[in-house]
């Protein structure tokens, strides 16, 4: 019987696959990305290299010496203190302690401050406290500290916000009205994000991380790109990171454009140039994990998309690696065997600049 290697399914379940099965899944995963994104599939050498990483006989793996990349953390501020159903450890502590632990104990290269809700809109009423927290953290830290939050445009739709829910309008075949509602929400969101970050910059933030951009679809991405553009103009030296919500920009509006390109339906390698054009200096591409497929399939698929994004991007790509993204299974605490293998493959095969 062929040697079997232990790996996981996308939902974290342990499975044992032979090298042949692993190679078949790698090839199929890469082909799926190539087909969807109309990009090149990985070469047989690259697939072989990922297979080697997967089959390494140790619990966790690391990159080859000299290939280390920077790691940045979104929402990490809260991971120590909070348990929000996504890998928080729930040790009572402050946000500053969270930031400092990441800097001094966990080796983070940049960090971000975020608040418990983590969307931009609810920062407005607590802006003074956020500014104060930023100042105190900056006084205690050396690594770049950004302010991070999610555009989360859904908060501008009924029942959470002032504009009629485009989902409801769409279902009633009121297409033009739905699009108008998305446009109005996007304008409002752009204004709010600029206003919040202007305040954070006054409080000595090193920049901003737009996390899960595009979560509410193309309008969400549209709003973010416009906020990036305005902030870049006002603060030529600030760090701006744009991290995505998913691999493909959902077409909720369908007609929104940036720089003459329709935003709906863009894949990571098409998102990168627009994010750069708007003025970001780090792009965080995302590839979703399919919980029904194996780790091999998911990883090859993710590496294929990310490699194309790295090639298309003029700014560093810090790939989003975590629960249910970047080939990693969807588990509250992402298993270290998968996290370390996926990260190594992203660095050594996709060529990412950071994680």
């Amino acid at each position: 019987m062929a040697t079997e290697y232990d790996l996981r399914m996308g939902d974290g379940k342990r499975v044992f696959h032979s090298k042949n099965q692993i190679m078949d899944d790698l090839e199929a995963g890469s082909a799926d990305a190539a087909d969807l994104g109309e990009i090149s599939a990985l070469s047989s050498n690259e697939l072989e290299k990922i297979a080697e990483i997967i089959m390494t006989k140790s619990r966790m793996v690391g990159v080859e010496p000299g290939k280390e990349v920077p790691v940045t953390h979104d929402i990490g501020t809260l991971r120590i203190d909070g348990d929000q159903g996504n890998s928080g450890v729930g040790i009572p502590s402050s946000r500053m302690i969270g930031c400092m632990m990441h800097e001094r104990a966990f080796g983070a290269d940049t960090m971000e401050l975020g608040h418990i809700d983590y969307s931009f809109k609810p920062v407005k009423p607590v802006i003074a406290q956020e500014c104060q927290a930023m100042e105190v953290c900056q006084q205690n830290m050396i690594i770049p500290l950004l302010y991070g939050a999610m555009p989360n445009m859904g908060l501008y739709y009924t029942p959470d916000g002032p504009f009629e829910n485009p989902g409801d309008l769409m279902k009633a075949f009121k297409i033009a009205e739905a699009q108008e509602s998305i446009e109005k929400s996007a304008d409002h969101l752009t204004r709010d994000m600029i206003w919040i970050i202007q305040h954070m910059m006054k409080s000595s933030s090193d920049g901003v991380n737009f996390d899960t951009t595009g979560a509410a679809g193309d309008g969400d991405m549209f709003a973010t790109l416009h906020a990036v553009e305005a902030l870049r103009k006002e603060f030529p030296e600030m760090y701006i990171e744009v991290g995505m919500a998913g691999e493909c920009v959902l077409g909720m509006h369908g007609g929104l454009e940036y720089d003459g390109k329709t935003l709906a339906g863009l894949w990571p390698h098409q998102q990168a140039p627009l994010v750069t054009k708007a003025g970001a200096n780090v792009f965080g591409p995302v590839v979703n994990t399919n919980t029904s497929m194996s780790f091999s399939w998911n990883l090859a698929r993710a590496v294929t998309f990310i490699k194309a994004a790295v090639e298309a991007s003029d700014v560093p790509c810090h790939v989003d690696m975590g629960m249910g993204v970047g080939g990693i299974p969807m588990l509250e605490t992402p298993p270290i065997d998968a996290v370390s293998r996926a990260s190594k493959a992203m660095v050594e095969v996709a060529g990412v600049d950071g994680i």
């Binding site: 077409g251 369908g254 979703n288």
Partner: protein, 215 residues
């Protein structure tokens, strides 16, 4: 024009998402003597399925899906007289769809509702973060054939199981097909909790519901 060509024209017209194209193609097929049922099933509905697939691939967007669905409804209307009284009044299957308690993710769930509605089902989307009781109440109220349960988090998937248990307690389990979805769900999870359908995305959901209800 051969029948195959007419069918292709119907389905292409739907994919173009333009009402005028659809109406013209329907007229043409009618004049050529094609059966109304065939025009709908092989032409229009097949086109609508393709629209779903193109949406999933990021090639068509939500407004297109709605325009195509609207165009299809208008096309079907043109055939109503030929179909004979009551044929298109055939009772649509009723679906209750919602996101389970504790989970506010509703983007994917709403897309599923929209696609099911576009495919001609009567959909009652009860929203997000819905307690088990709300599902049961709505199922009873509208006499649902299918219930869709969305969960986007590993921590809320349990809610899908709870609704299934509650359906059993209420003696409704045999009357209602249960469909589950959301990123953490898998066929294995569906099997484990005894759901009838697991669908990975919205167009797959439409396909599976049609299959299980044989419509």
């Amino acid at each position: 024009m051969s029948k195959e060509e007419l069918i292709k024209e119907l389905s292409d017209a739907i994919i173009s998402c333009k009402k005028d194209n659809v109406l013209a193609a329907v007229e043409k097929a009618k004049d050529a003597g094609m059966e109304p049922a065939e025009i709908i099933e092989k032409g229009l509905a097949a086109g609508m399925n393709e629209v779903g697939v193109l949406f999933e691939r990021g090639k068509l967007f939500l407004p297109h899906v709605m325009m195509a669905a609207d165009a299809m409804a208008q096309g079907v209307k043109l055939l109503e007289t030929d179909l004979g009284a009551g044929a298109t009044e055939k009772k649509k299957a009723v679906i209750v769809n919602g996101t389970v308690e504790g989970d506010v993710h509703d983007i994917g769930k709403s897309i599923v509702s929209t696609m099911l509605q576009s495919a001609g089902f009567e959909v009652h989307d009860i929203g997000r973060d819905m307690p088990t009781k709300s599902f049961i109440d709505k199922i009873k109220e509208v006499n649902a054939d299918v219930v869709g349960l969305s969960a986007l988090m590993t921590t809320t998937m349990q809610g899908q199981k709870e609704v299934i248990e509650a359906l059993k307690e209420e003696g409704l389990r045999d009357k209602v097909k249960v469909m589950i979805g959301g990123a953490p769900a898998t066929q294995a999870w569906a099997d484990k909790i005894g759901a009838d359908i697991y669908a990975e995305n919205a167009s797959e959901a439409v396909k599976q519901v049609k299959e299980i209800l044989s419509v």
